[in-house]
Symmetry: C2
Subunit: 245 residues, 2 copies
């Protein structure tokens, strides 16, 4: 399984993904699920994937190969984030359909989160479904999750708004991943956190910054510990219901 | 959907269930999912159900009718909680199998939590699967959840141990249901909380106490508010990571 999260803030885009995949409980591997496509100053894209690993690797490799071969319609030739979502969505549907036609007993499906910015246009964030269609994040619904999403959703529901700060969003992502990792073995470190700052005034666009949280990361451990202890204190401070007394 | 939770503490059994069922998003109804079987001083059983409503109602009605008709092997004639789990499990399998034979396109499955005590024996808690087999709660794994369980699991994982107090268990159940209700429309009030105290020294056994949390319950609202504000304060008090500075 996998857990990926992307947040569209007024002040930028924040992405987070874990690195564990499993085909059965005894076949666990590490794969990075964050892919950055960067044409410096012109286009910055981040793609997160969950679902069938062969499908998602084929999608990412096809996108990269088309760029290398300067194929017509490759990502770096597109002029809007909407066109990026349409291109990735169409490719997703095509790959899943081709495999499913040959063997419909296997689940070849995958979901993707695609966010970024193209020079001259606004930042956008999309969730792409296995059918190739997609939805876009809005101020009312500023974050998308794919994969093992439920354990870490309550904290996001409580905390994240479109006008939250980047610091809060990253802190909340850490807390959300911590909850998921504690409750589900199939999600695990390292976690890759990426951030694309909003830069409305500039003709050029900044680069994606990424950080990988490895096992033993001191800041990660500090936040998880403070959160755990804080939760325990709040919990103890609440007076129990006396419904039977 | 449904969310049910049962906890086996050293000091007693705690149960909680919501009351919402849905067949599609536009067909939502209220049904109590907590069923108490009580033979005062001799046997106290609590059954929580999730899954196909027709299946679970048929199981509960059959158990009740067998008791009324003084059928051989009815719940009130059984001598151990293990026999109770076997009886409920066999009935569950039988009902699901009969319907599935006629129409395998519909999901007739259900899961049950069964806990209680029979005079002379210890308290026990079981989770019964659609196949009719079951597992028992232990000091290492003192709680079971069925239905829409993931949103409310992280807090239980952090807080509940076999030696937790009843007050803490009920408080944690409230917090767990609050998280689930906020993140998933298909789980809703009223919540029924039940409690069977442990009474190791007595020949007789105490009765199940139940309380129903209705919309507007002041204690429930107070706990949810204190929890929400406490979480926000803890979150704000944690220093953000400075991974890019």
């Amino acid at each position: 399984m996998t857990y990926c999260l992307a947040i569209k803030l007024d002040s930028g885009l924040v992405f987070a993904s874990d690195s564990r995949t499993n085909a059965g409980i005894d076949n666990i591997s590490l794969f990075c699920k964050t892919h950055v496509f960067s044409l410096p100053g012109v286009m910055e894209l981040v793609v997160l994937n969950s679902g069938n690993l062969a499908t998602t690797q084929e999608i990412i490799s096809s996108l990269k190969q088309d760029i290398e071969n300067k194929q017509e319609g490759n990502l770096y030739t597109l002029e809007s984030m909407f066109d990026v979502a349409k291109t990735v969505g169409a490719l997703t549907r095509k790959v899943i359909e081709r495999h499913s036609r040959r063997d419909n007993s296997i689940d070849f499906n995958c979901s993707l989160l695609v966010g970024g910015q193209i020079k001259g246009g606004p930042q956008k964030l999309f969730m792409i479904y296995p059918a190739g269609n997609f939805i876009e994040a809005t101020p009312e619904t500023p974050f998308f999750q794919i994969g093992e999403l439920k354990y870490g959703k309550p904290m996001l529901d409580r905390t994240i708004h479109h006008n939250s700060s980047v610091d809060d969003a990253i802190k909340c992502a850490v807390v959300s991943f911590d909850a998921t990792i504690r409750s589900n073995l199939s999600v695990g470190l390292p976690i890759k956190i990426s951030y694309l700052p909003e830069n409305k005034d500039s003709e050029s666009i900044p680069s994606v910054k990424s950080y990988t949280i490895e096992e033993g990361d001191e800041t990660f451990n500090r936040i998880c510990k403070q959160w755990k202890e804080g939760l325990r204190n709040v919990f103890q401070s609440i007076e129990a219901p006396q419904w039977w007394n």
